[in-house]
Amino acid sequence: MSDRAFQVSRLPGFATIAIGVFLALYIPIFTLAAYSFNTNISMSSWGGFSLDWYVKAWNNDQVKDATLRSLIIALWAAVISTAVATLAALGTTRRKAFKGQTFIYVIINQPLMVPEIVTAVALLIFFAQIKVITGYQGLGYLILAHSAFCVPFAYLPIRARLEGMDLSLETAAADLYATPWRTFRHVTLPLLLPGVIAGAMLAFVISLDDVVITEFVKSGGQDTLPTYMLGQLRRQMTPEINAISTALLVLTIALLTAFFLINRQNDKN
């Protein structure tokens, strides 16, 4: 065909810009990953392929500690935020609008609206006082802060799932004399589960990614992986940071791909 059919949805130049955008999004990430395999320390020239920086990062105790701490916090934050978000989603969906509903929405979604730096400063001031009063210095502050800002990320997919669910199955269970608890346990919860898993995964990723709030809330020696990296950026940058970033990147992408596939499965059903 010499003459392409006139397509109404084609706008001249748009595809070119879009492809350019995708390239611009991914070239820096690939560059970052590529340099993690570079033998040279200078990062200005390519000295050959090696896994030295991964080995180095793996043997770095600070990195190990920070990674472990990041995972512990993210796990707790994901569990706590998903638990409370599930309850809140059950409370705020599938019933008649009531007074105060907007208030609940605003509070739950607050972390999406308030700039992170403002929350970070607020928590710094608040926890500084609590630390003086109680003397407790542990990870609890970070877990609480992370749980709080993860709530909306866990809440939204769970709520979306609940709103799309068929009420008739639960009515059927009730008609068959199932107690409300048994209905919830054997009908609602299994149906809701994909939403809960999706919410927990998003919460986990969001907690793992946080820099600003953690940087302000952490006590001495409580670096997470991102705050450790931020601290390193001020000093000499070595490909070790690239190696850590790449590893974290692979973990995030693996989680997201799983999320994507679960969601697709859901849509099909």
Binding site: V8, S9, K96, A122, A148, M229
Partner: protein
């Protein structure tokens, strides 16, 4: 309504509150409540070594715009502060406009793919969005720094002889913010375009509209809600950006976020820092309220 029905409704409402309480508690302690403390702190006196002293004062708020002259205690406009505010607003607006200019074609491109490949393109936009902000900032740093990819390529091609000094300038912060926040513009634009009935375009062309007319009269009005949502999603975090200006601006090209941090670190003026935080919060809230009003009006029109 019968009494039984009424009882059932009030029981349902009570349950809703019980179920929401744990989430509300966590957010009150871990996010909303401390904001009230910041508000109080903004009206107190600065302590000598950080923290505050109890005593009412408007110095924190006054300090946003004015500084006391060290010799005769008169108030003078704080030029350094104004520079930082101006940079924050300028860079945030530029970021918003530029992300739209490249994000709109991208969203359109994704929305017009076949139903089979569309989720994959969408996924490709989502990955950077969920990737650690610090990693993405660091990735763009790899490209624009003095010995980075961009300079290396340009020098190899012989287009420049000395490396371009992009890093640690406003331009670097701008490039970084566009890179980091672009998905936030593309996703709502895509949502708006995706709902759009392409037959309207056909109708437009059938009635002899030119491409430009179709773009202006049909496409833009339909994209508008996505544009407004995307602009809010990009503008709000840009204004409060902290990590990107810190890494790419190198401590000199500060934005409001870094300026706030400074008040709690070496600068040690907690009330000023608290007042600045509140100011940022107020600006963001106004932007969101304007958006909500707009969105409600749109809903009412449909």
């Amino acid at each position: 309504m019968s009494q039984a029905e009424q009882a059932q409704v009030s029981r349902s409402v009570r349950n809703a509150w019980y179920l929401s309480t744990p989430a509300l508690l966590i957010l009150l302690v871990g996010a909303v409540g401390p904001l009230m403390i910041v508000l109080v702190y903004s009206f107190l006196l600065p302590g000598k070594y950080g923290n505050v002293e109890w005593g009412f004062s408007l110095d924190g708020w006054r300090g946003i715009l004015f500084t006391k002259d060290i010799f005769d205690d008169t108030l003078v406009l704080a030029d350094a502060h104004l520079t930082i505010f101006w940079r924050s607003i300028k860079l945030s607006l530029l970021t918003t406009v530029f992300t739209f200019l490249v994000g709109f074609p991208t969203a359109w491109f994704i929305a017009t793919r076949t139903p089979k490949s569309r989720p994959i393109w969408l996924f490709l936009i989502t990955i950077p969005f969920w990737t650690n902000l610090l990693i993405r900032t660091y990735a763009i740093n790899e490209v624009i720094r003095t010995e980075g990819l961009l300079n290396t390529i340009l020098m190899k091609l012989g287009l420049i002889t000395t490396p371009l000094q992009i890093i640690y300038t406003d331009v670097a912060v701008f490039i970084g913010m566009v890179y980091v926040y672009l998905p936030l513009m593309v996703l709502p634009l895509f949502a708006a375009i995706d709902r759009f009935d392409m037959r309207l375009l056909e109708a437009g062309y059938d009635l002899y509209a030119s491409r430009l007319q179709v773009l202006r009269r049909i496409i833009l009005p339909i994209v508008k809600p996505g544009l407004i949502a995307g602009s809010i999603l990009v503008f709000v975090p840009s204004l409060g950006a902290y990590v990107t200006p810190r890494v790419l601006g190198g401590g000199k090209q500060m934005m409001i976020g870094n300026f706030i941090e400074l008040q709690f670190g070496q600068g040690r003026n907690w009330p000023l820092g608290a007042a600045l935080s509140m100011l940022l919060l107020i600006v963001v809230t106004i932007a969101l309220l304007v958006y909500v009003r707009y969105a409600n009006r749109e809903d009412a029109n449909v």
